[in-house]
C-alpha cells in the first residue's frame, strides 16, 4: 500500500486475477496479473480484441464483479465503498435509457434514488443537458431521439451523480462513423471541463489514440496487460489531428504492440 502515499493515484490495481468456473467444472482464466496505477484525471483506454478481459476489468473496478485474486483500491477505499459513495458513473454500449421517462427524467433517475431534493434534481439535470448539448430535448422521450443523442443522454445521466470516475464500456461502438467522431470531440470537451478520471473500453485503435492520455493494451488467452502506451498528442485535440504524422505514428505503435496477440 506504499502507492497510497502518492495522492494523485485514483485507482490502484495490484495483480488482479479473475478465474471463472464453466458449467462442466473447468477453470477459465479471464484475467491474470493485471497491475496498474491510474492517476486522477487521466483518460485511460482499455484496448484489445474480444476475449481479452477488458470489460471484465472495467466491471471489477465498478464493483460489479469480484476478482478472484489481487488487490484493488479506489482512492484508498474498496471498490464496494467507492460504489456505495457514488464514485462511479457508468456508460454502457447501449444507452440503456428508460423508455417511459423523458430525457430530463432519465437524467434525474439516479438523483431520485439518492434522495436529492426535487429542485436540485431539476437544476442538475438541466446543467447536464447543457453539457451534452441537448437542452431543447429535455421533454422528449428516448424513442424520439437518434442513437447518438440517446448515448449523450446516457453520458449526462452518468455525470449527473457527480462521480469521480467515469467508466465507459464501448459506448460509441454501435454508432455510425460521423456521429462517433462528433461524440469523440464532445467527450474530450466534457472531460476537460469536468476533470473526471475516465476509463474507456474499446477495440478501436484510432478511437483509443484520439481520446486517451494512456492506452492499456490487453491480450487474450489468458487476459493480461501486455503494453501501456502514453499518448503525448497536444490538447485540445480536434479531428484535424488525425491527419498528422504524429497521430499516424501512435496508431502504428499501438497496432504493433497488439500484433502477435
Amino acid at each position: 500500500m506504499a502507492d497510497m502515499q502518492n495522492s494523485n493515484v485514483e485507482i490502484m490495481l495490484k495483480d488482479i486475477g479473475m478465474v471463472y468456473k464453466t458449467n462442466d467444472g473447468h477453470d477459465v482464466t479471464a484475467l491474470t496479473g493485471v497491475s496498474l496505477d491510474i492517476q486522477k484525471g487521466e483518460f485511460i483506454s482499455l484496448l484489445g480484441p474480444s476475449g481479452c478481459g477488458k470489460t471484465t476489468l472495467l466491471r471489477i473496478i465498478a464493483d460489479l464483479l469480484q476478482p478472484t485474486s489481487g488487490e484493488i483500491s479506489i482512492a484508498g477505499e474498496s471498490p464496494r465503498d467507492a460504489r456505495l459513495s457514488k464514485k462511479y458513473g457508468i456508460v454502457f454500449q447501449s444507452p440503456v435509457l428508460y423508455d417511459w421517462r423523458t430525457v430530463k427524467k432519465n437524467i434525474m433517475l439516479p438523483l431520485e434514488i439518492m434522495h436529492i431534493p426535487k429542485a436540485e434534481r431539476e437544476d442538475r439535470a438541466m446543467k447536464m443537458l447543457d453539457i451534452v448539448g441537448l437542452t431543447e430535448f429535455a421533454n422528449h422521450y428516448p424513442n424520439q431521439l437518434s442513437g447518438g443523442m440517446q448515448q449523450r443522454v446516457g453520458i449526462a445521466r452518468a455525470l449527473a451523480i457527480q462521480p469521480q470516475i467515469l467508466l465507459m464500456d464501448e459506448p460509441f461502438s454501435a454508432l455510425d462513423e460521423f456521429t462517433k467522431e462528433k461524440l469523440h470531440e464532445d467527450l474530450l470537451r466534457i472531460w476537460a471541463k469536468t476533470n473526471k478520471t475516465i476509463i474507456f473500453v474499446t477495440h478501436n485503435i484510432q478511437e483509443a489514440v484520439f481520446l486517451s492520455s494512456r492506452i492499456c493494451v490487453l491480450s487474450p488467452h489468458p487476459g493480461r496487460l501486455s503494453a501501456v502506451i502514453d499518448v503525448d498528442l497536444p490538447r485540445p485535440r480536434t479531428m484535424d489531428i488525425k491527419d498528422t504524422p504524429e497521430f499516424t505514428a501512435y496508431v502504428a505503435k499501438v497496432r504493433n504492440s497488439c500484433e502477435g496477440i
Binding site: A62, D63, L64, R83, L84, K86, Y88, G89, I90, F92, S94, V96, Y98, D99, W100, R101, L109, P110, E112, I113, M114, F137, H140, Y141, P142, N143, Q144, L145, S146, G147, G148, M149, I161, D176, F178, T179
Partner: protein, 274 residues
C-alpha cells in the same frame, strides 16, 4: 377501377369487407334454413328479425322487453366478471412480483400455475361451487382463476426481460431492492402486464358466461341456457350472442386504451436525425 384500388388501401377496408361477407353468408344460411320446413326457422333467423327483436317494445315476461332483460342479466354477469378480473389481476401481479424477487417461490409455484390452467372450467366449476356453496361467489372465483394465469406469467416475463445493464445501473447507484422494483422493474413490465390483461379480459367475460349456464339465477349464461331450451324467444339467444361478442372485444380494446393513456411514450414517434 381506381376507386376500388383506393378503397382497398383504406384502413378499414378489411374490416368492412369481412362484415359484408359475414352478412351475405348469414343471410344465405337463414334463407336456406327458412326453406327447410323441418327445422324451426329461428335456429338461424334473418338478421332483420334479430334487429327487430332488439327495437321491439313487446314484453316477453310480462314486465320487460327482450333488450331490457338481456341488459339486466348482462349487468350481473359483467359485474361478476369485473370483480373476478380485478381479484385475478391483483393476485397475478403480486405472485409475479414474488416469483421475480424470490427464485424459490417461482420454482415452487410455477408448475402448479400450469396445472390450474389446464383443468377445464367445466370441471373446476362444480368443485368450487361445492366449496363455496354460493354460485355467485363461484362465478367470481372462476373469472379470477382464469385472469390470474395470463397476468402472472406475462408480468413475470416482463420482470425477466429487464436488461442486465439496468440491474447494473441500479447497483452502481446503490439502489435498495425497493427502489429497484419501483423505479426499474415495475415500470419496465407494464407493457407485458397489459399483454396479460388483453388476453385475460375477454377470458374473464367468456368464463363468466359459461359458468352462468351451470346454475340458475341472474346472468347472461343463465338466460342463454333458458333461451336454448326454448323457454324464451330464440331472438334473446341471438341478442346475447352478439352482445357477448361485443363485450369481449370491447374489454380487449379497453385494455389497449388504458395502456395507451398510461404510456404516453409509446405514441410519440418522429425520430431525430443525427
Amino acid at each position: 377501377m381506381s376507386v376500388l384500388k383506393r378503397l382497398s388501401k383504406s384502413k378499414y377496408f378489411n374490416t368492412v369487407l369481412w362484415i359484408v361477407i359475414l352478412i351475405i353468408v348469414w343471410e344465405i344460411g337463414a334463407t336456406v334454413v327458412a326453406a327447410t320446413k323441418r327445422s324451426p326457422e329461428n335456429i338461424l333467423p334473418h338478421l332483420s328479425g334479430i334487429i327487430e327483436s332488439v327495437v321491439s317494445k313487446d314484453t316477453i315476461n310480462g314486465s320487460q322487453t327482450a333488450v331490457q332483460m338481456v341488459l339486466e342479466n348482462a349487468k350481473a354477469t359483467i359485474s361478476r366478471a369485473l370483480v373476478g378480473f380485478g381479484i385475478g389481476t391483483a393476485l397475478g401481479f403480486v405472485l409475479a412480483l414474488f416469483m421475480s424477487r424470490f427464485k424459490t417461490v417461482e420454482k415452487i409455484a410455477f408448475p402448479y400455475l400450469m396445472i390450474i390452467q389446464m383443468i377445464p372450467i367445466l370441471g373446476m366449476a362444480p368443485l368450487i361451487f361445492a366449496i363455496t356453496q354460493d354460485i355467485s361467489k363461484s362465478r367470481i372465483i372462476i373469472a379470477a382463476i382464469l385472469t390470474f394465469y395470463p397476468v402472472a406469467t406475462n408480468t413475470l416475463a416482463g420482470f425477466k426481460a429487464v436488461e442486465k445493464e439496468k440491474h447494473e445501473l441500479m447497483i452502481s447507484y446503490a439502489a435498495s431492492k425497493f427502489q429497484l422494483y419501483t423505479k426499474t422493474m415495475i415500470p419496465s413490465c407494464i407493457p407485458y402486464f397489459f399483454t396479460g390483461l388483453k388476453i385475460s379480459a375477454p377470458m374473464a367475460i367468456t368464463a363468466s358466461i359459461l359458468v352462468d349456464t351451470l346454475q340458475g339465477g341472474i346472468g347472461l349464461g343463465c338466460l342463454l341456457s333458458q333461451a336454448l331450451k326454448g323457454a324464451m324467444s330464440r331472438y334473446v339467444f341471438w341478442q346475447i350472442v352478439f352482445l357477448s361478442a361485443f363485450i369481449g372485444i370491447f374489454s380487449f380494446l379497453l385494455m389497449g386504451i388504458i395502456e395507451y393513456i398510461l404510456c404516453p411514450y409509446k405514441r410519440k414517434g418522429n425520430k431525430q436525425e443525427e
